[in-house]
Amino acid sequence: MSDVILKNLVKNYGGKFLAVNDLSTTFKAGEFVCLLGPSGCGKTTTLRMIAGLERPNSGELLFGDKVFFSSRTGEFLRPEKRNLGLMFQSYALWPHMTVEENVVFGLAMRKATSTEKANRFKELAKLFHLDGLGARYPRELSGGQQQRVALARMLAVNPSLLLLDEPLSNLDAALRLEMRAELKRLHKTLGCTVIFVTHDQLEAMTMATTIAVMNKGVIEQMAKPMDIYHRPATRFVANFVGNPPMNMVGAAQGDDLAAWLGNACALPARAVETFGVRPEALRMAAPGAGAMEAVIDTIQPTGADWIIGLAVKGRPMFALSAEPPSAVVGETVGLTLKPDGVHAFDGEGRNLEVVA
């Protein structure tokens, strides 16, 4: 088992668009790493560079002591030689091959005998519930089955590193939940390193052991999921992770709302540029009961809880409540704060607690 080490990786396209900008990090062996970020943040490029499908312009990329790429020595290991597993968003199953042919393709490339191939397919078919589907063609399968074929194809050659590029985005909600569980179980049984690219924070939060939030070609924060949520290093991370997103309030001097939030954090107020409040940290109380008042604007019950649109001092904020709201739309309620849900960011977007 080896770490994936990225040193000063740079990738630009046509010298214009900088996709990955001086990226240095280490993905520890055995981790389930999620690269999370909005589209265009460089996460897929990073994954494709690890797979070898893109060559970085400069920097170094190591897998343990194996050099994948180095602009210092001029080494570049072709993807064919890296022995990785890669799963595409579209699965990229070959429509002209049967399920079995798809799955054992990698073994065929490694000159396996036909018995070896048949046995391995039997094993994998059992593992991924594909029994009896070997002779079918991909278009004859359901989305979930296609996904499992893609997984089986990737795992058939016992890759030392699994790379997954938004593999769940084409599935419906129920199937997605099931697959999340399956991938998590798989990671546990195989114990190998997984790098998983997604823009869906829920996927990242639920599956990853480590999340790397990317923005504009750099990693903003890499940490355990709960730390990402509760101790976001930057305003970008704080805003990107969490649903409904964190409420952002400008910290202008002499503002009641800002002063109220400032009390909750106990940080030097003059350094603060923006306050962030997790929706679940906003608690409603009877009118006059809290230090702050708000008018209920909308109520969206999700079943499990309620998303409540508030107007606080004329500013829109969202609160998330496990209890039904005590008032109806248009009525005024009091507000209290759960202090650990309030964050303060400086002018460069850094979380002041984390900086401190």
């Binding site: 396209y13 602009s71 579209s90 393709f105």
Partner: protein, 601 residues
Amino acid sequence: MAISTSAAKPPLGVRLRLLVADLRAEPSIAIGAVLAVVLGYLVLAPVAAIVFSALRFTRMDAVRASAKPGDMTFSYLERVFHSHVSVDIFWTPLWNTLTVAVFSTALAVVFGLTLAALVTSTNIRGRGLLGFLLIIPYMLPSQALASAWITVFKNRRTGGAPGMLEVIGLTPPDWLSYGPLPIVMCLALSYFPFAFLLFSNALNKIDTQLEEAATTLGAPQRVVWMKVLLPLLIPTTMSVLLLTIARTLGTFATPYVLGAPVGYTLLSTSLYSSIRSGASGVAAVLAIVLAIFGILMLLADIWMVRNWQRFVTVGGKGGKRDVAELGALRLPFTAIAWTVFLVAAFAPLLVMLLSTVMREPGVFAFSNFGLAYWTGADGQPGVFTSPEILTALRNSLAIAGSAAVLCGVLGLTVGYAVVRLSGGWLAGFLRQVSFLPYLMPGLAFAAAFLSLFAVPRGPIPALYGSLSLLILVMVVTYLPYASRSGISAMMQVGREPEEAGMVLGAGFFRRILAIIGPLQKTALVTAIILPFISGMKELSLVIMLVTPGTEMLTTQSLRFLDYGHTQLANATILIIGLVVMLLVLLLQRITKTNLAGGLGG
């Protein structure tokens, strides 16, 4: 934000190692580079040759002007645009060309739109069958209708076998036999299937929800057509207009056969006579004018695509349009549709066929019928025994066939390189250069090839008089179609299937053999059959390049017309039609689609 490594450039050895690694990892770089060099030469060299010969003295003119051959001159430009003969070599042909283009295009659009509406959206009788039959004129070479017209309307003005009307005692006036009227009619009838195809396609694609929305708001059928469907067809109409005009500008056979006897010259025939008489400077200027027209059409098309995007209606959910019940009008409309088929396809074919089985044209006596022209009689060889026709058939199949295979493979290779290298300048260059021949008139391109490859050039031996020159020029001319379809086929498949193989350890050749190849099987067959069809029908491109041993069916049929053997000309055209029809049926079998797909060439 500075890129940290850009400060110190790595040493040369390291950069070389990386370059080698890149080339090994991405063979499409090498493929693209080779393609760029080869295509660049094959496409840009003729274009440059045309431009040069427009501006430099030929040997013939240099002697008279006491200059050196190759000296720079504007005399050809002057001769074409501003001399006492420019009216004859340029302005009148230009006016004639525009007249013919406007009228034949207008007619083709009217026929095409009416018939497409009738066949796709009404209950006229035999619509399924008509959908195929109306495309037949498209499968015939462009001189077919002209030849059929001559067979019927030829008068005593020209020699050889007399026309059918002449024989039964009616002498058609010149304006009916030759000149603008027959040219316009023949072009309109041979180009309307193209309009018909595009309009049918568009009508089938329009989201029926758009009509349903109008119907639910209380609009009667007539209003739905006037206010919803016809306006939605405006972009299609525009592209049909442009494509048909572009084709008319370059058309050669019809004006040659029907215009020459009365001296009605178009730019294309003026270009032909300039080349034939050795006035290559003037020919080059005319070729450039035609190419500029091509560029204007292309720009207009680009402009339109940009400006009419709001009319894009693809991706709708609506089902198949209900056919309109025509009621009392059903019979008359059925009659109209079938009449067009009869006039445009059936009658010409019948006339041509009849002419080949009648000893004396126009004499409908039983004893006058016979297979003499097919089997040969009185010591004269017939179609089946004529060495000329058999050679031409063999040549046509060999030339069009090999050009088609090369074109198909080349097109997909260009597609592969462009898709793999997308975003890079190499991909952009390949795209542009492979599209350039689209703008050059076939005659001019052929002339440039003639002068370029008559002698050995570098590794290429002298090709004139060999089949390879014809194959080469055909490959280059059809390249725009082939590479366009190759690019779109590769785009559709995308990079991922290949990358999946890469990651699983498949090297380049394995990926091509096991993944890309099988995935592009149908695309490849289509990319071969379509140029094959065009090649079988091609005339203007090859007319300058064929030599006695390399005549093709199309040029042979024109020779027969030149020598007054109308019957043999017609038989030759029928053979072409038959081969093309077989190819079309084969194509439909393989792609499981109808023609409406993408007949471009």
